[in-house]
Amino acid sequence: MKKYPMHINLNGEWVEMEADAGETLLQTLRNKLDAVEVKNGCGKGDCGACTVILNGNPVNACLTLALQADGKEVVTIKGIGSVQNPHPIQKSFVEKGAIQCGFCTAGHVLSAKVLLDKNPEPTRDDITEAISGNLCRCTGYTKIVEAIEDSVLEAQSGRE
């Protein structure tokens, strides 16, 4: 297999690796960089569990070649908050009970984060549209949407 050198800025740090032409970013993240916080739900772009933020835009890591991320910024759920210091959206998800099995959660949170960064006061329709690429088999979405709305309100009261 022909391998090509590449580097990505993963959650703020440049890392170098090799990838073959057909390897997806999801495969590289999970198998070579131990970034297993990025989940493999379907591997074909239908579920959004593998959502990462690539140069500021949320994308399916399974629909991006590793080599297409060369030289770019990749942000996973670990890049936006931690257990000790959660991102406000993560806090809202926990407080509002928007997590059951947790498999879809990272993808939803990252899609929501980019939405709120670009549009701090989204309507409910804006929210459901922003997460329309992320499937959840457990929650029925109600609490996910409420959690995102909650983080909007929290941010608003933080600004006032």
Binding site: M1, K2, Y4, D20, A21, G22, T24, G43, K44, G45, D46, G48, T51, L54, N57, P58, V59, N60, C62, L63, T64, L65, L67, Q68, S111, E129, A130, S132, G133, N134
Partner: protein
Amino acid sequence: MGNTEYIKPKNLNDLLNNKKETEGRGAVIAGGTNLIPQMQEKIKSPEFLIDVCDLQELSQIKEENGMISIGAGTTIADIASSDIINVKSPILASAARQLGNPLVRNRATIGGNLADASPAADTAPPLLALEAFLFLESEGGGQREVPLEQFFTGPNQTVMKANEVMTRICFSEPEHPLNGGYIKLGLRKAMAISVVSVAVMLDVEEGICRKARIALGSVAPKPVRAYGVEKNLEGKELNRDVIEASANKVTKDISPISDIRASAKYRQHTSSVLLKRAILEARDRGKK
């Protein structure tokens, strides 16, 4: 996939050379939203992948001398949010907003949507209604302009030659950009392959239809123009009876099949229903 070679051209010139040098064994990859799953499933195993996803030259949206020009590498997300597209061709912006989902739209490109040539390609019906044409270029200065209505030859089949690259999609700025309608019928609000999609552009003068351009997706082996309905509408007053009678004639312009998403009969029926709604939308949107 194991032996695939990866090439990343730095500019259009390099791209055209790469396409020539790989002699038909090289697949251009842009967003990869169709190609990557196919490669993972081993449905396609190109010897060479020629990556254009970062080629700025191919992703410009321009407005010059009454022509709108969209680089083939422009992402669907950028088309959906483009001021030029939203103002000058809102039906294309509407289709772009309904393609796939936001994650896919950040990678998928308009060139990829057309080159993949699914009969359900979301951007095809609006572009057909806008009478778009494509620039296909090859090494050595080769260039031809192909009207989109001649581009598709069947399901996932186009007139593109092995050494050609689609560089731009162009159309004349419509005189009445608001007099358009686009409706996508899918089984879900997102991530849906269309069951039927309809795009309409009209020129209306004092209630009379001067020009109608109508296209449908997912109802034939390729996206199609409804020439019969167009002729039926032109010259007539656009009242509800005329619109209904013309919309019902669409069954002669389409040849839907039954598949996993819908039956042929359902597609026949809903084509007329959606077409009537889209024509009404096109008629009424421009009104003050």
